[in-house]
């Protein structure tokens, strides 16, 4: 099997920089990380210097995703040798146990971290993901709520909670979580769009109006958000078709829907033209 560097004709520095870019952008392309990282570790370990420890961590998590326990074990051993007694390494050991579905042992591991340092957020979040992996969503929701009571600023956690609520069809609470996210990231069009979708799913005239407004906001933040454009069209036409609205509101919404249709047509034309070129 050809190595990555042979296939793409890249040097080890480019591979290392690619890994760093994936790390900074928080990509979860685990198979690619395993391919690139494994070769980097096996062939070029000495040249990497101190970078190697963070690469070990990155590759280990990717290896757990791909069920490569051999690679994960190697990385973990190296990290344990270099950083004995580190809580970050303990968390990685716990993650490996989780991947092997030894949830009891993993939970004990995280509890020992929390005993040393009650403010360690990583261990608490892993415990919650154990509950989620076991399918105990009600408990996971409860634990996550408790976690958020203490760490109100953790945006990753708010997003996770909104996802859990959506799965439980509790759209009101999911909307609350998304509102937190919209407040902390007012320029992120994806949160606006997701919020609008939740409101649309909740249904009812007021929620439909809200959803239309937030689809519009998402579009304003990013003109290219097709999903928001379709959402705008659907919410506007839904309101227009509803029997409870008065004439002015109906007219306004028909206008909005028409505008959205225009933009959708334009977008298709643009994409069509591109592919014809």
């Amino acid at each position: 099997m050809a190595s990555v560097s042979e296939m793409y004709d890249v040097t080890w520095e480019e591979m290392r920089d690619k890994l760093r870019k994936w790390r900074e952008d928080n990509h979860r392309n685990s198979e690619q990380i395993v391919d690139v990282g494994e070769e980097l570790i096996n062939e070029h370990a000495s040249k990497l210097g101190d970078d190697i420890w963070i690469i070990y961590e990155q590759v280990m998590i990717a290896a757990l995703d791909c069920s490569r326990d051999d690679l994960a074990w190697t990385c973990l051993q190296e990290l344990k040798k270099q950083f004995p007694g580190s809580q970050r390494v303990k968390r990685l050991a716990g993650m490996r146990l989780e991947a092997l579905e030894k949830y009891e042992d993993a939970s004990k591991q995280y509890d020992s971290i929390l005993q040393d340092d009650p403010t360690n957020t990583a261990a608490r979040k892993r415990k919650i993901s154990i509950l989620k992996a076991q399918g105990k969503s009600a408990e996971a929701i409860r634990e996550l709520n408790e976690y958020l009571e203490q760490f109100v600023g953790d945006q990753e956690a708010w997003h996770e909670l909104s996802e859990l609520y959506i799965n439980e069809h509790d759209y009101g609470k999911a909307a609350f979580c998304l509102e937190e996210l919209m407040m902390t990231n007012p320029h992120n069009h994806l949160y606006c769009e997701q919020y609008a979708e939740v409101k649309y799913t909740q249904g009812g005239l007021e929620n439909l109006e809200l959803s239309r407004k937030y689809f519009a906001q998402a579009l304003k933040l990013n003109n290219g958000n097709m999903r928001a454009l379709f959402g705008l069209y659907m919410s506007a036409s839904h309101i227009a078709a509803s029997p409870k609205v008065n004439a002015t509101v109906k007219k306004a919404n028909v206008k909005y829907a028409a505008w959205a249709t225009n933009q959708i047509n334009r977008a298709y034309q643009v994409s069509h033209a591109r592919y014809l070129l």
Binding site: Y8, V36, F151, G153, M183, R212, A216, K220, N223, S271
Partner: protein, 261 residues
Amino acid sequence: MAEPELLLDSNIRLWVVLPIVFITFLVGVIRHYVSILLQSDKKLTLEQVSDSQILIRSRILRENGKYIPKQSFLMRKFYFNNQEDGFFKNTKRKVVPPSPMTDPSMLTDMMKGNVTNVLPMILIGGWINWTFSGFVTTKVPFPLTLRFKPMLQQGIELLSLDASWVSSASWYFLNVFGLRSMYSLILGQDNGADQSRIMQEQMSGAAMAMPADTNKAFKAEWEALELTDHQWALENIEEELMSRELDLDGMFSKELPTGIF
């Protein structure tokens, strides 16, 4: 009074000015590493972390509350500020103002700070004064009054010498402050050799990281939140959005990324 320019022996430049610069710089670097070694871990309690995040959330609510619907904003404001069971009204944290004398960890911190910074400065300043004494080292480019003479010309007993000519001790002190920017360049920001910053910190030390402030901070947030109103940013969003066509440039690109590189 005006007088002919003094011509200093160029040996002074070679053997006094430059060595003092080197000495000051090296001492600064050593101080930085020593301060790293002596640094003690600051353990935050769960409550402190939680409180600081809550304050951040309240502040964000005030600043960005206009992006969420009015109902949601009022719900959150109510949660914080309600007369009976609002968070800011009700939560009182137990406050132990950490005075430097009673709190042992702050005492040791202060001592370490003094030892690493003030002591070397005094020692080396004195040593330089003793070694490089009896001659003028350099001239400051601006005229000084006679008041400065005893301060800047230690060891030189010449009544008629212009006060702009200074001794090596003053050159040393000049270096201590002047090399601060060099330290930032070489050691990175927030380094332990930055003396003037540390002195500033000691002066405002009482204002930093005071848990007693939590109650005051809560009260301040409560007042600020009471005053905030909800101006919904999305009031006329449709009109604003539809006033012009969507900008669809760059949405569809022919280049699809293939493979890893």
